[in-house]
Symmetry: C2
Subunit: 430 residues, 2 copies
C-alpha cells in the first residue's frame, strides 16, 4: 500500500486578536493584530457558564487563565456557601420613594444562573493571562490588514498588511454590512474598590451583580478581581449621532454622567459619584441593522464580533464568539482528517467547512444581536418611571428569562455533533 | 363516626358565554350571556394541539363538538398522508417580482406544528355544537351583569343584571385595566369557497395555511368546513383611533381593503378581490397596555379574555382560555374535596383557589398578550418592502419559532400538578 502523501499543514491567519481570536486552538494559526499589543481598554467582562464550558473544551488552559485573573462568580457574597448559585437581579434604580415604602428599591426579578453561572473578571487581567497561553511566534502585532488576494481553489490566499486603512473583506468597503453601526447608547465604565462600593450600595448589593433599571438608562455592576473591586457600567441612551465610527471612545466628564442620572434613586447616584472626574465614554456599535447574509466566502471566514458584533446586554457577546471557536475547531479536526486522506481536496474541504460553520452558527448569533437590543429596551422602558405602568413594564421579565435561558442552556455537544454531521454530509464522508 | 355534614353545592356563575365560558365543566355552573343567543360573528377559529389536549381533559365532548363542526388540520392538502403534520408558513406577500425571480413569492419560513398541530373551523359551527353539550337550564341569555355584591366570607356573592351598562367588577369603572384598548389594527374576514381560493392562490397555498406578510399589513388563510372553504383574514394597521369601544365592528367596503393592498403582490390582490363588496371590519382590542395586576378578588375571578384579551396573531387567544379552564377545574376538584371534609371553610377555600389560579396563570397569559403584539410587528415590518433590509427582516423567524414553541410545547399535566400542589400548600393539606 502506498504511503499517503504528507499534506502541507493548513495555515490559518486570524485577523484581529480579540479575546475570541486568541482562542483558536488545535491548528497552526497566526494572529495579526493592528494594535501595538494586547492592552484592553475595557474594564470588566463576564462569561456565562456555557461559554466557560466551551473554553474548557477548546483548551483547559483558557479556563485556567480566566480563573487566575481574579475571576469571581458574580454572586460573590454567597461564595462561602457550597455550590452557591449566581443570580442575575434587576432592581428599581429610578423611583425616589420613601425607604419605608414597600416599593422602595424593589427587587423586580431574579434569575438563577446556576453554580458559577456568571463569572466576571477584569478584561486586562484575563487578556494578559490568555496571551501567555499562545506561543509568542504565533502573534504579530502592528499588522493592519490591507488587502486579500484570492487565488486558485487549492492555493493559499494572499494577505497584505499596512497601517491605517480598513479593508472590508467580505462585503466590500461600501456595504453597510461591513461596519458596525452606532446603537445610540454610550457606556461609562469604571472599577470601584469594594469598600467604597459597600458604602454606596450596602454590602449585599455591592457583593452581588445588580442591574438598576430606569427610563432610558441603566447601571449594572458585579464584583471582579477576587472581590476587591466592583466593575460598574452605566449605559445611557443618546439621541444624537456619533462623530467618528473609527474612534469608539470619547472624553467625557462625571458631570455629564451625573446629569443623566440626576433624577434617579439616591442609591444609583451614590455609585455614579464614585466614577472618576475625568472619564471616557464608549459608544456601543453593533451589526443589528445590517446583519451579514453569510459568514464566509471562499477561504475567508468571519467569526466572533466581525460576524455578529452585538451590544453587551446579554453578557454573551464574547461567549458567542467562544461557541463559534469551538464549532470551527470541531470542523477543523474533520478538515485535517479529510485532507490527510485526500490531500488534493484541500480548497473545497476548507471552503465547505467555513460554509457549514456559517450556515450553522448564523441563526443563533444573529438572534443574540437582536435579543441584546430587545433586552436593552426592556431595561430602558420609560414605564419604569410611571407607577401606573409598572405592572405593564414588569411583564417583560417572563420574556427576559426565556432569552437568558436560550443562551445559557446551550448544548455544545449537540452543536459539535450536528455541525460535524452536516459537514460530513456535504463532503460525502461517513 | 358522625356522618360529615353534606355541604351546599358550590355554585359558579359565569359572566359572558364565549367559547371559554362554555367550557367550564365538572361543577354546577350557570352561564349569563348578555346577547340574545350564541351567534358568533367571527368567521374562522383555529386551535393549537395543546389547546385541544386541554379540551380533551376538560370533557371529550368538547373535542367531539369541534371535530363535528367541520374542523380540519390547517395543512389539509396533506390530509391523505398518514399522520401528516401541519405547518405554519410565512410567505412574501408584498414584493411584485418577476415570476422567474428566485425571490418571487418566496417562502420565508415554516414551522412544523406536528400532527393536527393547528385545527381550524368556522366559529359559528363550533359554538353551535358546543352549546348542545351544555344543559340548556345552565344558560341564561339576555343577562347583562349590572352589579356584584360581596357579602360575608362564607356567603354567596349577589349578582344584579340589567341591560345596557357595563360594570367593571375587579378594577372599577374608571380603571384602564377594566377595558381592552384599541390596538390600531383592523381585521377584514371572509370565507371563500375552496374552488375560488384555488383559482386565486394555486392549489397548494389554498389548501394549506399561509401567512402573506408585508409592510403594515398581512393576510392569513387556512381551510375550514371540511376543506370546502378557506377562512381568510386581512389585518391592516390603522394610524387613527376607533370611535366607539363598545362597538367592535364597523361597516367597510372592499374598495378600502383593495386600497390598503393596492401595491401588494398579485397573488394577495387576487384573494382580496374575492372578499364581498359590502364588508365589515373588526377592530382589534387587547389588554396589552394596562395588564391586570391580579386575576381575582374575593370570590370573583377573571379568566379567558376578561383576564388577558389578546390580539389573535398567535392563534392562541381562545386556547389560553381553555388552559385557564383546565387549571381552574383542577383546582375546583380540590375545592370540592376540601369542603366535603371541612364545610365551614367554604369562603377561604374558594378565594384561595382563585388566588392560586391567578398567581399561576398570570405570567403565561400576559406573556401571550405581549407576544401576539410582537409577532404582529414582525409580520408588518416595513423592511419586507425593502430588498436591502430583507436579511434583517428575516432574523425575526428564529424568535418567532421560539414564541410559537412556547405556546405549543405546554405541559398541561405539569400545570395541573403544580397549581394543585401550590393550592394544597396554601391550604395546608397534603
Amino acid at each position: 500500500m502506498p504511503t499517503p502523501l504528507r499534506p502541507e499543514p493548513i495555515e490559518i491567519a486570524i485577523i484581529g486578536g480579540g479575546i475570541v481570536g486568541l482562542l483558536r486552538r488545535g491548528i497552526q494559526v497566526t494572529v495579526y493584530e493592528q494594535a501595538h499589543g494586547f492592552r484592553e481598554i475595557g474594564a470588566g467582562i463576564a462569561f456565562t457558564a456555557n461559554a466557560i464550558q466551551c473554553m474548557e473544551q477548546l483548551d483547559p488552559a483558557i479556563v485556567t487563565a480566566l480563573r487566575s485573573s481574579g475571576s469571581v462568580a458574580t454572586s460573590a457574597s454567597n461564595a462561602g456557601v457550597k455550590e452557591a448559585h449566581d443570580y442575575l437581579r434587576w432592581i428599581d434604580g429610578y423611583n425616589q420613594l420613601d425607604p419605608n415604602d414597600p416599593a422602595y428599591q424593589r427587587m423586580l426579578y431574579q434569575i438563577d444562573a446556576g453554580y458559577r453561572g456568571f463569572e466576571g473578571c477584569r478584561r486586562v487581567q484575563f487578556l494578559e493571562a490568555l496571551v501567555k497561553v499562545v506561543p509568542p511566534e504565533a502573534i504579530w502585532c502592528r499588522r493592519c490588514l490591507q488587502w486579500i488576494e484570492e487565488r486558485g481553489l487549492d492555493e493559499k490566499i494572499g494577505l497584505g498588511f499596512l497601517d491605517g486603512t480598513r479593508v472590508e473583506i467580505l462585503f466590500g468597503e461600501g456595504s453597510p454590512v461591513s461596519y458596525p453601526h452606532y446603537t445610540h447608547e454610550v457606556a461609562y465604565r469604571t472599577l470601584i474598590p469594594m469598600e467604597a462600593a459597600i458604602a454606596a450600595l450596602g454590602e449585599y448589593k455591592a457583593r452581588n451583580q445588580h442591574n438598576h433599571v430606569g427610563p432610558r438608562a441603566h447601571l449594572i455592576h458585579y464584583p471582579v478581581a477576587n472581590n476587591t473591586l466592583i466593575n460598574a457600567t452605566a449605559f445611557v441612551m443618546d439621541s444624537g449621532g456619533w462623530l467618528d465610527d473609527k474612534q469608539m471612545v470619547a472624553p467625557a466628564s462625571r458631570g455629564e454622567l451625573e446629569a443623566a442620572f440626576a433624577d434617579w434613586s439616591p442609591c444609583v447616584r451614590n455609585v455614579i459619584r464614585l466614577f472618576p472626574e475625568g472619564l471616557e465614554k464608549w459608544a456601543c456599535f453593533d451589526l443589528w441593522e445590517y446583519p451579514a447574509p453569510y459568514y464566509s466566502r471562499g477561504k475567508i471566514c468571519l467569526t466572533g464580533d466581525a460576524a455578529h458584533a452585538s451590544t453587551p446586554h446579554h453578557g454573551a457577546g464574547a461567549g458567542m464568539g467562544i461557541e463559534d471557536a469551538l464549532c470551527l475547531s470541531s470542523l477543523m479536526v474533520e478538515v485535517v482528517e479529510i485532507i490527510r486522506k485526500q490531500p488534493t481536496l484541500k480548497g473545497t474541504v476548507l471552503e465547505t467547512a467555513f460554509e457549514t460553520f456559517g450556515a450553522f452558527r448564523r441563526t443563533r448569533t444573529q438572534w443574540l444581536v437582536n435579543s441584546s437590543r430587545t433586552v436593552r429596551d426592556f431595561y430602558h422602558q420609560i414605564e419604569w418611571g410611571e407607577p401606573s405602568k409598572w405592572v405593564k413594564a414588569e411583564t417583560c421579565f417572563e420574556e427576559l428569562k426565556a432569552r437568558f435561558h436560550k443562551i445559557w442552556y446551550f448544548d455544545d455537544e449537540a452543536m459539535k455533533a450536528e455541525a460535524v454531521g452536516l459537514y460530513r454530509e456535504k463532503m460525502g464522508v461517513d
